[in-house]
Assembly symmetry: C2
Homo-oligomer: 416 residues x 2
């Protein structure tokens, strides 16, 4: 028997074959219609969103999570604006990235094509519903969305609005489908829907991502955790160090590109360490230090080995003294999650050593790790930040949602 | 306790950090030394290979498999030649593929870097040992090789020769490691060695690939099966059709880019069908046809639904009549494996319909599917042919063994 998920998969695959040959113009028209429809439907959407919020409050969901679920006129307007920005972006599909002419007359083109069907599995934030649907559409992909139960009514209202918009266009409504049943069973089925899904993208906490990576047989684009470090070198400029550490830790502690660990050169620490830690402490940051740090800085709490491996996502930072850049690199190689890593130094050679040897999606010299972001990089869109090395690494814009295809033109050539 | 596999993983990771910063010149020197050493050691290698062959004969391994295992002076010389060709190829590592200057003064570079540690799991052919080791080395990756028991002695001799060569260079011998224990347990451990492996590449039959795809938590580059079709359109030129069908089916039936299924337009079949099938039949090909084909062509055996899904890898072909290009596309979408698909037609519009709508790594107009190959495409090297859409699709040359990294140069920038 065909399950609901398999049936959605089938329909998404069929839709993807139709999307595959839509022009950029057709896709952009559909996107504009979606932006328009969201504004038309905003009161319905907010009414459904209120159900999620009421249910969440009843279930004692933390206020910070409820805030992520909450939709108001401003946030819906921001969604519509983001779609208009997306319309203005370049469509990568159809571009010929390689052209080979062989002596036997074969002409080989390598063309950018959509991935096909994208599975998106995510938590709380209903804006991911709109992001994933519109970025997929722009790149000619069908998408199957599986949000969390905490945003179920909001997601249903948003997808209903998308369907109303698509019904007015040449794009099939099956191009965007929501799995309404948010049980574990539907997630598991999605993990193994290899026949119809070309990729599965999880967005959410470490538990969700680990589950998907460990269970899925569908290829996964891992948007992983960020245990990001800042190494403050012997030759660090104090002003830059303080500014960057404060920004990377406190500007938005709950995100993956926030700093979680400070590695400080022994000699620099002697001179500036207490001043830097005091500044962080005054900004509300709890300092979790190694033995030396605790000796020098009273407010510090002692770090365990676990601390160095922890992504706090909170106003907390682990601090460890190191002898040199090599010890810093070794520590990062061991404890890092290959997300974003920074060095603060005025010594160009030490900076190069760090930038070349640290294995991460983004490595920074004298800048905050908070810049690892598709919008900050100027991509105009972001489907997530990849911490794996295959296919896409770092902030993923539209090209991450595409694949390639060789198109070969012959006139009877055979292989000798 | 650390197992042998974990320990090899650790050492490969450490080696990859050293390789990561080796120059193209250093890597090429090491490659040349390997080519040299293989020739020096050829008698040892052949003696060890003879053990595999003797054991294989005793175990009743088919002659065709034994031929794939067999090494002689000529084949070892060919390995050395392939390495010299590899030396001459462009090293993709270090290339800056994107350069972004932000208004705030940040300079963002996207650099090509090695993947890190590659796990290669393969069957029979000892030449994969050399291919995988040298392609990995050229791109700055460490590699863990896990061949099959049928080529165990050959693989050990080849890796010993590589180690002797590397010992004379600045490249650590841990860059190339062989898992000598070819039990299922070591394969399973490799599937989950996520801490150390950046990618796992299976090369072999469908059973091996399916096992890896279904079990591995390490990201996989799927080098899949090829159930390749040729659609002979109403407007096909007979000479081209016969030449291409014969080539795609018979030139080397055991490989993944050989044709396995013929879809023939009804009207064309009426005029030329028997002639084409007779030509194939005379070339030793067994015709497995649908009802109409069996009625018209006496030597045809009746096809079951399974036949259309089967990669024969043999002198056998399934033949089905279709009403038009759309039916052909639909059949391919259902039964194809997204490898290589061809249309034979003189009608440009029909060709475009086929090329745009068929979802495969390589789509051909009036040429043999046998061209899907890294060497034929002019890449000078090939680690396999990807049938997945993430990361690499089609013949994978050196770029498929690389990732990217954002390197960001600042002077104190923070995110507002």
């Amino acid at each position: 028997m065909t399950s609901e998920i398999q049936e959605k998969g089938q329909r998404a695959k069929a839709a993807s074959y139709m999307l595959n040959i839509k022009t950029t113009c057709e896709k952009n028209e559909a996107l504009k219609k979606i932006a328009e429809q969201l504004l038309i439907d905003q009161h319905d959407i907010m009414a459904e969103n209120a159900k999620d919020l009421a249910q969440g409050e009843q279930q004692g969901i933390p206020a910070s999570t409820l805030d992520r679920i909450m939709l108001n006129e401003e946030r819906i307007a921001a969604m519509a604006d983001a779609i208009h920005l997306l319309v203005s972006l370049n469509d990568p599909v159809g571009t010929i990235v390689e052209h080979i002419e062989k002596d036997n007359g074969l002409r080989i083109e390598k063309r950018i094509v959509p991935l096909g069907v994208i599975g998106m599995i995510y938590e709380a934030r209903p804006n991911v519903t709109i992001d994933a649907a519109t970025l997929s559409l722009k790149t000619g992909n069908a998408v199957i969305l599986r949000g969390s139960s905490s945003a179920k009514f909001s997601n249903m209202a948003l997808v209903a609005s998308i369907h109303r918009a698509l019904a007015k266009t040449s794009i099939p409504t099956d191009a965007v489908q929501l799995i309404e049943d948010t049980s574990r069973e539907t997630a598991k089925e999605l993990f193994h829907l290899k026949e119809y899904l070309d990729v599965l993208i999880p967005r959410g906490g470490k538990a969700l991502i680990d589950l998907v990576v460990n269970e899925a047989t569908v290829p996964v684009l891992e948007t992983g955790a960020g245990n990001c470090h800042i190494y403050v070198d012997e030759m660090a400029d104090y002003i830059k160090a303080e500014k960057i550490c404060l920004n990377a830790k406190t500007q938005r502690p709950s995100v993956c590109n926030a700093a979680e660990s400070l590695l400080i050169h022994q000699a620099w620490f002697k001179e500036h360490g207490v001043q830097l830690l005091t500044a962080l402490h005054h900004a509300g940051v709890t300092i979790i230090g190694d033995e030396q740090v605790c000796q020098q800085f009273e407010a510090a709490l002692p770090a365990t080995a676990d601390d160095y491996a922890t992504e706090y996502l909170d106003l907390k930072i682990s601090v460890k003294l190191v002898e040199n850049v090599y010890e810093a690199i070794e520590h990062i190689q061991y404890f890092g999650t290959n997300h974003s890593e920074a060095i603060i130094t005025e010594d160009q050679l030490t900076a190069e050593t760090f930038l070349n040897n640290v294995d991460a999606a983004a490595v920074y010299h004298n800048a905050s790790t908070r810049f690892t972001d598709g919008f900050e990089f100027g991509y105009g869109a972001e489907i997530g930040i990849s911490t794996q090395k295959l296919h896409a690494r770092g902030p993923m814009g539209l090209p991450a949602l595409t694949s390639t295809k060789y198109v070969i033109h012959g006139n009877g050539q055979i292989r000798e």
